[in-house]
Amino acid sequence: MTKQEYTITVYTENQIGLLNRIAIIFSRRKINIESLNTSPSEVDSVHRFTIVINETEDVVRKLCRQIEKQVEVLKAYYNTNDEIVWQELAMYKVPTEVIASAVKVERLLREHGAHTVVIRKDYTVFAVAGQREETDKLIKVLEPYRLIEFVRSARIAIIKASDGFHEKLKEFEYREPGEDAIENEFLNENEKVFSM
């Protein structure tokens, strides 16, 4: 099995210490986290982690089971890049005088979908939301104009096939959950499982 980029989406309770619990599942196995984001989710009170790693599917599946095993984790999903819509946010700080004198730069920025966040006398901050290639490309472009500072956020991702977590959470609230809450991934892949 070959390694590839996987995005892991974890729905959790909002609990101090859970970030560490999840992070050590990776570090214990000496797996590098490429990017990690925590945010609210579509459901009130439910937190959402988005984690990107480069691994084989077998490893990712096992990691997700270990993550789901944590008491405060509701659900963990993993997806390949073509199963998600994803973005990162990048910010670039450049000297305002350079920008002002080189009109070319402003055109360049427009071409890259950047917008201005702050303009001060001494510096200007641009931001771009996009995928890695796009934000990387703009670094290259800005470098000749003395890029003072650059930062990129973790990936956030939307799962194309997901119906959201509202319904699922309702199931979790019940003492006796319906079968849906406890998805049976083994059985859902019946053929694969039983034919080996």
Partner: protein, 582 residues
């Protein structure tokens, strides 16, 4: 309740009383049915100990001699009683001393709730005296942990702690309570047990489709083989398990943790799996056509080399923990669920069968092992005694009714290979972590876990010296623990490996010991040291008949090895019976 309350008149619908966080902790214990606590006091847990002073009649507190002893005792208690063990320790060093036991309880799925004191909340993160980041230190070795800084949280958090520790796949839980929360008075409206956490699913709904698939495989099998682990015991499914194997007629082998779930002399019981398990079960793992794993996790000490493990077999894996399924060995049919539920469903669907020829094959391998290993171990031709004959003689006297607690090393393997058990929850050992020093404190806990049973600790001369301070606990609280030290004057198991795999370069395995009998005497515990076979039976008898604890040191062969052995890195079928075969 009146005794512990400072009453305040309040016209509330639900009557509340003002209690301290410390009292709330103890009330939670009582509500959870806790009667025994193992602990050690200190500055940050003093309010709880102060409250404990008034609970003397309801809660037995066993003052251990080291916090590691407290948690191992709680583990022994839990393993024998099937209840959750409870521990108190103070902050800083008290809490860090628990870490080995937490790791042990985590890997062996033992339900334990540890309460640690912590510095005042306003001092967190200031490097205050005896402040340690206990939550982060213990995160990888706890099923759940939580820091309480406000007393009002205590009832609900403790309810959660007991629920999590004891349900699903059990494990250790640590609750760190800051001193201010222990002191804080709050309106207490009683304790409510936790029965549901929305993000926690202790066991799934069993899907019948798997059971049907599994039964199909079993019914079509010609050489089915059952291997089972502690899941059977933790699931309290011994009866269900026995019914299953008896109806299906399948030879069954236990892992070290599954041992005693069925009586060792059960006609379908074919022995122990693993590195020093029995010959037949190891070799025939690679001959069966359907391998049915029940409540076990395919540890590397059981599987040997994975790419040479049961490759010919279809595998059915019954486990409550979905993370275990397909972790090491890919299951053909995964049966995710509580084996207390899944086994009866499976029993219903399997055909009543017997496999006389297949069972005969196990007997033939057993015979080979008898001839090459067991005979000499149990009836040695050497003048010096063997560990095996000590265990064998003990069997004769206890008739398999004792709780046997072992430490880690050669004596552990020998004890588990030869001890007889009639009853479940009788073999208490550190299986997953292999923690030397486990046995003495665990035996103390075991003695409290079921005082009606005889508890025998079997310990090496090395391991005994790791936690022998717990003799002080025995001296003070008088649990009846029979201690057998099998003294080979070496760190035996490491010496065996050095002999077999490091050209006999004995590097720091030669360990000198104090006069153990004198040491015991210093703690007021009678004892005896023997080196002659003629004295063995009568001395064991004396030990068992002693009303109270007794320490028996038995001098055994210095350079005896434990066989059979699946050498590291080899497949189970490459199990060897002697040094020459390695």
């Amino acid at each position: 309740m009146e005794t512990l309350t400072i009453k305040k008149e309040k016209p509330a619908t639900k009557p509340t009383t003002q209690v301290s966080g410390s009292v709330a902790v103890l009330e939670a214990f009582l509500a959870e049915g806790v009667d025994t606590v193992f602990g050690y006091p200190g500055g940050a847990i003093m309010p709880i100990y102060d409250a404990l002073y008034d609970y003397n009649d309801k809660l037995k507190h066993i003052l251990v001699r080291h916090e590691q002893g407290a948690i191992h005792a709680a583990q022994g208690f839990a393993r024998v009683s099937g209840r959750t063990g409870v521990v108190f320790a103070t902050s800083g060093p008290g809490a860090t001393n628990l870490v080995t036991g937490l790791a042990d309880a985590m890997i062996d799925s033992t339900p334990v709730v540890c309460i640690t004191g912590q510095v005042f909340a306003h001092l967190l993160g200031t490097d205050a005296f005896q402040e340690t980041d206990v939550i982060n230190i213990t995160t990888p070795v706890t099923k759940w942990n939580y820091q309480v800084t406000d007393a009002t949280e205590i009832p609900a958090v403790l309810a959660k702690a007991f629920y999590i520790a004891g349900s699903g796949r059990p494990g250790p839980v640590l609750i760190d309570i800051t001193k201010n929360a222990q002191l804080q008075l709050f309106d207490y409206s009683g304790y409510q047990k936790c029965e549901h956490i929305r993000s926690y699913r202790p066991k799934p709904i069993v899907r019948k489709e798997y059971i049907q698939e599994a039964a199909k495989l079993i019914n079509a099998a010609e050489r089915p083989f059952v291997i089972f682990g502690q899941g059977v015991i933790l699931g309290k499914a011994e009866k269900e398990f026995q019914k299953f194997i008896e109806k299906a007629g399948i030879p069954s082998a236990w892992t070290i943790m599954g041992m005693s779930a069925i009586p060792t002399d059960h006609p379908l019981g074919v022995g122990m799996l693993g590195m020093h398990g029995n010959y037949g079960p190891n070799v025939l793992t690679n001959e069966c056509d359907v391998l049915i794993a029940v409540g076990m996790r395919f540890d590397d000490r059981v599987t040997g080399r994975l790419d040479k493990y049961a490759k010919q077999a279809k595998i059915i894996h019954l486990d409550i923990d979905p993370a275990e399924i397909d972790k090491n060995v890919k299951a053909t049919v995964p049966v995710w669920g509580d084996c207390k539920e899944t086994l009866p469903l499976l029993t219903e669907l399997v055909d009543q069968k017997v496999y006389p020829q297949w069972l005969q094959l196990f007997k033939e391998y057993q015979q080979k092992e008898e001839d090459k290993v067991i005979k000499e171990e149990l009836n040695p031709t050497t003048e010096i005694m063997t560990m095996g004959e000590v265990i064998n003689t003990l069997n004769e006297l206890t008739k398999g009714d004792a709780v046997i607690v072992t430490d880690v090393g050669q004596h552990q393997m020998v004890a588990c290979r030869y001890a007889k058990y009639n009853k479940s929850k009788s073999n208490i050992t550190s299986g997953g972590l292999g923690t030397m020093g486990y046995a003495l404190p665990a035996a103390i806990g075991a003695a409290y876990g079921d005082p009606s049973r005889t508890t025998v600790a079997i310990i090496g001369d090395g391991g005994f010296q790791m936690t022998l301070q717990e003799l002080g606990t025995i001296m003070q609280f008088k649990p009846k623990v029979k201690i057998i030290i099998l003294n080979n004057q070496f760190l035996g198991m490491v010496r065996q490996w050095q002999q077999l795999f490091h050209e006999k370069r004995y590097s720091f395995v030669d360990i000198t010991s104090p006069d153990f009998v004198q040491v015991a005497k210093g703690f007021g515990i009678p004892g005896k040291s023997i080196s002659k076979r003629e004295e063995l039976k009568s001395s064991l008898q004396q030990m068992l008949e002693q009303d109270g604890s007794f320490l028996l040191e038995v001098m055994v062969g210095k350079e005896n090895n434990v066989f059979p052995m699946v050498p590291q890195g080899r497949g189970v079928a490459e199990c060897v019976l002697s040094r020459e075969e390695i």
